[in-house]
């Protein structure tokens, strides 16, 4: 017992000793290694780690003729925002992180953003689509993703092409992000005179959607827009299929984007997902790897194809790298200035941040796509079905 105590004390001292950051740039973030957001957050973290490996493998970031290696410091935030502020403060003060990347999911991002702002640290957010966060007066927050209000607009347009008079059911998780997404698209739908057959939010811990599905059937809904995160989205998709709900169009947030979604088998067919990025995207990057190179590297390393959370993680690093290299300095003010001025296309697509003081840092350059699971040669694949310019297959309806 006593021995164990000494061991603990010793390792505590070790952990507390300052990092020597002479030839490295330290970047800090938290990831949900445990808890409800684990799946999506892990993908994001993998993207960031791949970026680090790529950069360090090529000799690091070049700043004013000198090369810096990237050092990542990361902690588990347990998918709960209780610890996020403590951990980000620790990243800044103890681990001397010079730049920050956000945690995953809008709630945690908003919590972390307060700290980054208070310490004047630049934070690239990925997986924090909720626009509200960027309207609180931040100056150092830069949003990589397209904002939440845009998530389902594409899906609604695609749906209207197939069915001009849809009876839409909105079924979504009652978390900040999903609610904001649905709120935006519901307003649009109502304005256009679409029929809202059902409007139900559910708790993230919901495991049985039968009551909701029965309700949808009763309301004669033929399209479903909604979802939330991975676990609930997968359950909803599976039950829709099993209960043979007569919906012809299902767009769910987040969950179907993951390659794991294919585990659902036939339940996945026809389900579409608004995506920040897909491997089929045909962007010509001004900076960083090509889409193909990224996809290849990621697949080699993790034995699974990347989805948009992973790409977002990589892109967050890439954007930061670009800004630092352009600034020729690691000074946060100069890097922030470069980010403010940035308009660049990477494998992730175009990135441009709003400079409007009311919504500083909001993403205004990036566009989303709509992907759908389809069966091709007996295998489940995700095809891009919207916008038309980017599509790789026709939508199933």
């Amino acid at each position: 017992m006593r021995k164990a105590f000494y061991l603990l004390a010793a390792s505590m001292l070790f952990a507390a000793s300052p990092a020597f950051a002479q030839d490295t740039i330290t970047i800090g973030f938290t990831a949900s290694q445990t808890g409800a957001l684990n799946n999506d957050s892990t993908a994001q973290m993998r993207g960031i780690e791949l970026w680090r490996d790529d950069v360090n493998g090529k000799g690091g970031i070049k700043v004013g003729g000198k090369s810096y290696n990237i050092k990542l410091v990361t902690y588990d935030d347990e998918s709960q925002n209780t610890r996020v502020q403590q951990l980000y403060t620790r990243l800044i003060t103890q681990d001397k992180a010079q730049f920050l990347i956000s945690p995953y999911s809008s709630g945690l991002v908003a919590t972390a953003a307060i700290i980054s702002e208070q310490y004047g640290k630049v934070m690239i957010t990925t997986g924090g689509a909720l626009e509200k966060t960027y309207k609180l007066g931040n100056k150092n927050l830069f949003q990589l993703y397209t904002g939440s209000s845009q998530y389902l607009t594409g899906a609604l347009q695609a749906l209207k092409e197939k069915n001009p008079k849809p009876h839409i059911a909105f079924v979504y998780e009652d978390d900040p992000f999903s609610k904001a997404v649905v709120q935006a698209v519901r307003d649009t739908a109502k304005k256009r005179g679409d029929v809202v057959a059902a409007d139900e939010s559910y708790a993230g811990s919901t495991t049985d959607f039968s009551p909701v599905i029965n309700k949808m059937i009763s309301a004669k809904a033929d399209a479903l827009l909604g979802g939330g995160h991975y676990a609930d989205g997968a359950t909803l998709a599976r039950q829709l299929h099993e209960q043979k709900a007569a919906v012809k169009w299902v767009t769910l947030l987040v969950a179907p984007d993951s390659q794991k979604f294919a585990e659902l088998g036939d339940s996945a067919i026809g389900i579409s997902v608004p995506s920040q990025w897909e491997p089929q995207a045909a962007f010509k990057p001004d900076f960083g790897p090509t889409v193909a190179a990224f996809t290849q590297a990621f697949t080699d390393k993790y034995k699974i194809a990347p989805a948009y959370h992973a790409a977002g993680g990589y892109a967050a690093g890439l954007i930061l790298q670009h800004a630092i290299e352009k600034a020729g300095s690691t000074d946060p003010v100069q890097v922030a200035a470069q980010l403010n001025a940035m308009d660049v296309t990477t494998f992730f697509g175009r990135t441009k941040f709003s400079n409007d003081s009311k919504e500083h840092g909001l993403q205004v350059g990036h566009d989303m796509v709509l992907a759908q699971w389809q069966k091709k040669d007996g295998k489940l694949v995700k095809e891009v079905i919207w916008p038309k310019a980017a599509k790789t297959a026709d939508a199933l309806y």
Binding site: S32, Q33, T34, G35, A36, N38, N39, T42, S79, D174, D199, E200, S201, Y202, A203, S205, T206, T207, D208, S210, P211, V212, N214, K215, I217, S218, Y230, A231, A234, T235, R238, Q239, E242, Q243, K244, A245, A246, K260, E263, L264, G265
Partner: protein
């Protein structure tokens, strides 16, 4: 109208499984006056046992049910000796904390092993469709198995010597000891039985829905509600309580937003606790 009927049927089907989950909780509670806060974690164990058996060993899904009963029983007896035995007869708070600690350990080990990602076991069963509403085969099978297991538990408790000993220990432990019943072993066995029931409910749930290491908490809370509805310590009441909860969920849905249902559930839960603190069918501690 048909929609409501469909909701009722769905409610009964899922409710039977809730009842099975609660049965494990209520049995342990009734016999040894321990509220098992590791209940949710055990439900999760049942889920992952299904996953392992089906994915790794390629067993048919329902073949996992008997395996889980045996395994759950063994695990339960182990957990009893690790975390519960010293708490018997101590203040309730102590057993609450002790089982909560077991819960942390189990969830922690599960998280380290499987992470908190969702897992999915695809079970193919023919489903029944009726006027646009479909009742899936997994639901029907799970409900049927839940009722069968509840029936077996009833037979065990009321028509076997060992089951009667469990009831005797629940009613009056000291008198049971004086009758020559090895009460400690009976307690360990009852705990094993409770864990087996909770585990098997997890296995059945996993045939219906995707799950994660953290899924157990929702079922633990539901089990509390069911236990209170059906009467503490009463396995037969648990089944009825479970069906009642399923019905409430199913029946309330057509009339109110889904997000209001937990309020109804927990409001009812608190109300029942205050109005019928001993439940209606309690078989211990009159």
């Amino acid at each position: 109208m048909i929609g409501i009927l469909a909701s009722v049927i769905d409610g009964i089907l899922i409710g039977a499984v809730y009842g099975l989950a609660a049965m494990g909780l209520t049995l342990i509670w009734g016999v040894m006056n321990v509220i098992n806060l590791a209940h949710g974690a055990i439900v999760v164990v049942g889920m992952f046992v299904l996953y392992m058996l089906v994915s790794a060993l390629g067993l048919p899904a329902y073949g996992a049910v008997p395996v889980m009963i045996v395994l759950g029983f063994v695990i339960g007896i182990g957990l009893y000796w690790i975390g519960v035995h010293r708490m018997i007869g101590r203040p309730e708070l102590m057993s609450l904390l002790s089982t909560f600690a077991l819960n942390m350990v189990l969830i922690g080990l599960g998280t380290a092993w499987w992470t908190t990602s969702p897992y999915n076991v695809q079970v193919n069963m023919p489903s029944v469709s009726w006027r646009g509403y479909t009742f899936t085969g997994t639901h029907i099978t799970a409900a049927a198995l839940a009722v069968v297991i509840a029936g077996l538990l009833y037979l065990l408790l009321y028509h076997t010597r060992i089951g009667k000993a469990v009831r005797a220990v629940a009613t009056n432990r000291e008198a049971a000891e004086l009758c020559g019943i090895p009460t400690t072993q009976v307690l360990a066995m009852a705990f094993g039985l409770g864990v087996a029931l909770a585990g098997v409910s997890g296995t059945l749930i996993a045939t219906m829905f995707p799950f994660t290491v953290l899924s157990g908490e929702a079922y633990q809370l539901k089990s509390f509600v069911v236990t209170v509805l059906g009467g503490l310590g009463n396995p037969a009441g648990a089944l009825m309580g479970g069906i009642a909860l399923g019905l409430i969920e199913g029946l309330a849905t057509p009339f109110m937003p889904v997000s209001w249902i937990p309020i109804v559930e927990f409001g009812l839960f608190v109300f029942c606790l205050i109005a019928f603190p001993r439940g209606i069918f309690s078989f211990t501690k009159a």
